[in-house]
Symmetry: C2
Subunit: 189 residues, 2 copies
DNA sequence: TGACAAGACTAAGGGCATTAGTTAGTGTAA
DNA sequence: TTACACTAACTAATGCCCTTAGTCTTGTCA
C-alpha cells in the first residue's frame, strides 16, 4: 500500500466514463472519480488540470471511440448502405454510452480548442467521405450533413430524455426519419 | 427600505430568465438571482423550493411562452404554411432565448411531473393539430412529428453550440432540412 | 391596538473545486 | 551504494454554492 498508486490518465478517463455512463455526466465529479480510484481529490491535479480538464479528456475519448465505430460501421459497404449503418451505430452509441455521448455535447467553438475540435469532427468526416462518393458537390454535402447531424442528434437527445411521449415504434420512427434525410439525395455519376 | 422587498415568483422567474439568456442556464444560480433581486439567497426559499424548484418554474415559463409563439405563428395559415411558420418561430425562440431554451432540455419523464410534462407538450400539440388537418393518421403523425422534433431540436442545439463548422448558409440548410421533413407528407382528402 | 403571518434576515452546515505546501516512494546518476 | 531529484500521493485551508434552522420586522386583519 505504498504512497504511489500509479494512476494514469487512462485510469481517470475510464473511471469517469463508467460513472458518467452509469449516473450521468454530472455525477462524474473529481471527488467521485477520486473515490472510485481510491485516492484523494487533489491528487487528480497531478494528472489533469481540474474538472474542466477531466471532462475534456472524456470528450476526447468519446470522439475517438465514436469515430472508430463509424469507421467500422461504414467499412466495406456502398455509400448509401454505409451511411445508414453509421446512423444505426450513432444511435447505438448514444444508447449504450449515455455519459460519453453527453460528454461530447459542449462542443468547442472553432478557435477554442483545436485538438478537441478536430477529434469531434472525426465522425462527421467519415460521413462526409461517403457523401463525397455519391458525387455530391461540397455545398450539397454540407447541407445534407447538417440536416443529418441535426436529426440524429435531436433524435437520440430526445430519446435519451424520454422526450417522446409514447413508447411506440421508436425504431420505425428512426428508420423513417433517416430515410427522409437520405432517400432524396441525388446520385451523380 | 423596509424588511419586505415584496418579491414575487414572477420576479424570480424574470430575473432567472434574464440571467440564463445572458450567461447560460448554469449561471442562473440561487445566489445570482438573489443578488439581482437585491435579497439574500435563503430568502428565495420563501417563494421557491430550492434551485431545482426555480429551474422548474423557469422551464414552465419557457414552455408557456413557446406554446404561445407557436399559436401566434400558426394562426390563420393553411396547415403546411402554419407548420413552416412554427419551425421558424422555434428556431427564432432558441436563438433569442438560449437560456429559456436550455431550461426546457431536462424534460421530465412521463410520470414524473405532470404539470410540467403537460406544459412542455404544448408546442407539440399545436403542431399535431396542424398535421391532423392534413388528414394524417395518428400513427403517421407520430412518426412525422418525431422526425420533425428531432430535426428541429438537433438543429438549434447544434447551432446554439456553434457545432456546425462552417458559417455558410445556415438559413439555407435549415430551409432544406425543414423541406425534407415536410414535403413528402401525403395529403389525404 | 394587538396578534399573526409573510417575508425578509443571520448563523451554520455540507459538498465540491481548487490552491498551497508537505511527504513518501522511485529511479537515476555519481 | 548512496544521494538527489522527480513524481505522485497527501493534509490543510479557502471559497462558492445550496440548504436548513431559527430570528425578527413589517404589514394586515380582527
Amino acid at each position: 500500500m505504498g504512497r504511489k498508486a500509479g494512476i494514469s490518465i487512462d485510469d481517470i478517463v475510464t473511471a469517469a466514463a463508467s460513472i458518467a455512463d452509469r449516473d450521468g455526466l454530472a455525477a462524474a465529479t473529481l471527488s467521485a472519480v477520486a473515490a472510485e480510484l481510491g485516492i484523494k481529490t487533489p491528487s487528480l491535479y497531478n494528472h489533469v488540470p481540474g474538472l474542466a480538464g477531466m471532462r475534456r479528456e472524456l470528450a476526447l475519448h468519446s470522439s475517438q471511440l465514436l469515430t472508430k465505430l463509424f469507421r467500422d460501421a461504414t467499412h466495406g459497404h456502398e455509400p448509401r448502405e454505409a451511411i445508414r449503418a453509421a446512423t444505426v451505430a450513432y444511435r447505438l452509441f448514444a444508447t449504450e454510452h449515455p455519459g460519453l455521448y453527453e460528454s461530447m455535447l459542449p462542443a468547442p467553438k472553432p478557435g477554442e480548442d483545436d485538438e478537441l475540435y478536430e477529434a469531434m469532427a472525426g465522425p462527421v468526416r467519415v460521413l462526409f467521405d461517403e457523401f463525397a462518393k455519391l458525387g455530391l458537390t461540397e455545398e450539397e454535402a454540407v447541407h445534407v450533413i447538417r440536416g443529418m447531424r441535426a436529426m440524429l442528434h435531436g433524435f437520440v437527445d430526445l430519446e435519451r430524455k424520454a422526450g417522446f411521449g409514447m413508447p411506440v415504434e421508436l425504431d420505425a420512427s428512426f428508420d423513417r426519419a433517416v430515410s427522409l434525410m437520405i432517400d432524396r439525395i441525388p446520385e451523380r455519376t
